[in-house]
């Protein structure tokens, strides 16, 4: 990885020698060699004339009047995927013995139309199999994968939505409350 100043010296480009630049760093950001660490052993700085970090202490309004919002530097991420169709699904029932689950799916382009279908656990990436539970949200895409050599292969990909840890904890609390509520209302209807 390298860092190079651009011609105007107003920013620095961070890039890999074998890729295009990955990130633009304004020069008033105070990028210090001692603070950065690289996993790539070949890492080097090709410039060290970096402005004082204190320059970065202006108010936000002064800092961002005309900031370019587009990712002007796009990394090359090699393979790509051309989508034919995509659905969002919500699991309605899971049979862990048979390793299948049923779900309501909606086409992204026609969100008002809902269909029910089932999937095998084998259709899912191993890393996502622990996310299979009733109510889980997933995205199912069918399309062409464009390989590095430019070839195409038709693939189906199912990816599960992952909730933040605090959200999962909250969900557990909510489930517990729901169970307790049920217990009181079902077994003790007079209360």
């Amino acid at each position: 990885m390298q860092i190079a100043a651009d011609s105007s010296q107003s920013s620095f480009l961070l890039y890999n020698p074998d890729e295009r630049a990955i990130c633009e760093v304004p020069s008033n950001m105070g990028l210090y060699k001692k603070n950065a660490y690289f996993l790539n052993e070949k890492a080097e700085f090709v410039t060290s004339s970096i402005a004082d970090e204190k320059e970065n202490s202006n108010s936000m309004a002064e800092n961002y009047p005309n900031v370019e919002i587009t990712p002007n530097i796009v990394p090359v991420l090699q393979e790509s995927f051309i989508e034919i169709k995509k659905w969002e699904g919500k699991i309605s029932e899971v049979d862990f013995n048979k390793e299948i689950f049923w779900a309501f799916i909606r086409d992204n382009k026609f969100p008002n139309i809902e269909e029910e279908t089932y999937f095998s656990f084998d259709d899912i990436d191993e890393n996502d199999q622990n996310l299979v539970e009733e109510g889980a949200i997933f995205y199912w895409s069918i399309g062409y994968k464009r390989t590095l050599s430019g070839g195409r292969e038709k693939v189906s990909i199912i990816l599960f939505r992952r909730l933040p840890a605090w959200n999962i904890e909250q969900k557990k609390v909510d489930d517990k409350i729901e169970k307790l509520k049920k217990l009181f209302t079902d077994e003790h209807p007079s209360r």
């Binding site: 990885m1 961070l14 890999n16 295009r20 990955i22 990130c23 633009e24 760093v25 304004p26 950001m29 105070g30 990028l31 210090y32 603070n35 950065a36 660490y37 690289f38 996993l39 790539n40 970065n56 936000m60 309004a61 800092n63 961002y64 900031v67 919002i69 587009t70 990712p71 796009v74 990394p75 090359v76 991420l77 393979e79 790509s80 995927f81 051309i82 989508e83 995509k86 969002e88 992204n108 969100p111 191993e126 890393n127 996502d128 995205y139 895409s141 399309g143 464009r146 430019g150 990909i157 990816l159 939505r161 992952r162 909730l163 933040p164 840890a165 605090w166 959200n167 999962i168």
Partner: protein
């Protein structure tokens, strides 16, 4: 006229605000339950830099780069677009006090024309060469940017960029970028304690509209 083929379909979400880059690292995402440990481990050698001034690493779903003023995540595989959106919403749902004043929902597409003639024809259609013929030798379209007003109630703009395709081995390729730009500086000036809630709300509300806009512009400009 034979239509070009879509070869690469990409998305990037860019935030402008005040960030602490060193927070952003795969293990922090694992600790928050936003990615799995196996995803972090699989991409361990994809960490490019983590420092107080800049953080940059790749995950299976995309590449994240953060500086004190900018957060961006880039994905070039459409199955991951929703995962990327969810990840961004989850990250800043946790870092809810992060002040974010601008957002770009950007769509990046690369198309392939079947012949050189069709590729030139496309460039000539968007940028006629007549005015340049007596000034430049063999003029060609290098980059074209057209900006338009938003048609909704939000502040910001729509910026469309067309260039010859670079970075991917696409012969006779054209690159189309649609920058759906939102600016809420006025809101945060009035109430700086809003953090990133207004921008996240805009991202959620405009997700489908932004895709519709992408499809409409792609259809009008590229024909597909």
């Amino acid at each position: 006229m034979s239509l070009p083929k879509l070869e690469v379909d990409g998305l990037s979400i860019v935030f402008i605000g005040t960030f602490n880059p060193s927070i952003f690292q795969p293990q922090w995402l694992v600790a928050q339950g936003l990615i799995s440990q196996s995803e972090a481990s699989e991409n361990e050698n994809q960490i490019q830099i983590i420092s107080p001034q800049v953080s940059s690493f790749k995950l299976t779903m995309g590449a994240i780069s953060v500086t004190p003023q900018r957060f961006q995540i880039i994905a070039n595989k459409s199955p991951y677009f929703e995962k990327v959106r969810d990840l961004v919403i989850s990250i800043f749902g946790i870092l809810q006090h992060t002040p974010i004043i601008q957002m770009g929902i950007n769509w990046d597409r690369h198309y392939k024309f079947s012949t050189e003639e069709l590729w030139h024809e496309f460039g000539h259609k968007l940028a006629p060469k007549e005015p340049w013929k007596n000034i430049l030798q063999n003029p060609g379209l290098s980059s074209l940017r057209i900006q338009g007003k938003r048609t909704d109630d939000n502040t910001g703009l729509i910026l469309v960029t067309i260039e010859p395709s670079k970075g991917y081995s696409i012969q006779y390729g054209a690159y189309l970028q649609i920058n759906n730009h939102f600016d809420i500086q006025h809101l945060l000036k009035e109430n700086s304690s809003l953090g990133c809630a207004p921008i996240l709300e805009l991202l959620k509300k405009n997700w489908f509209e932004s895709q519709n806009l992408r499809d409409k512009i792609s259809k009008e400009i590229m024909g597909v």
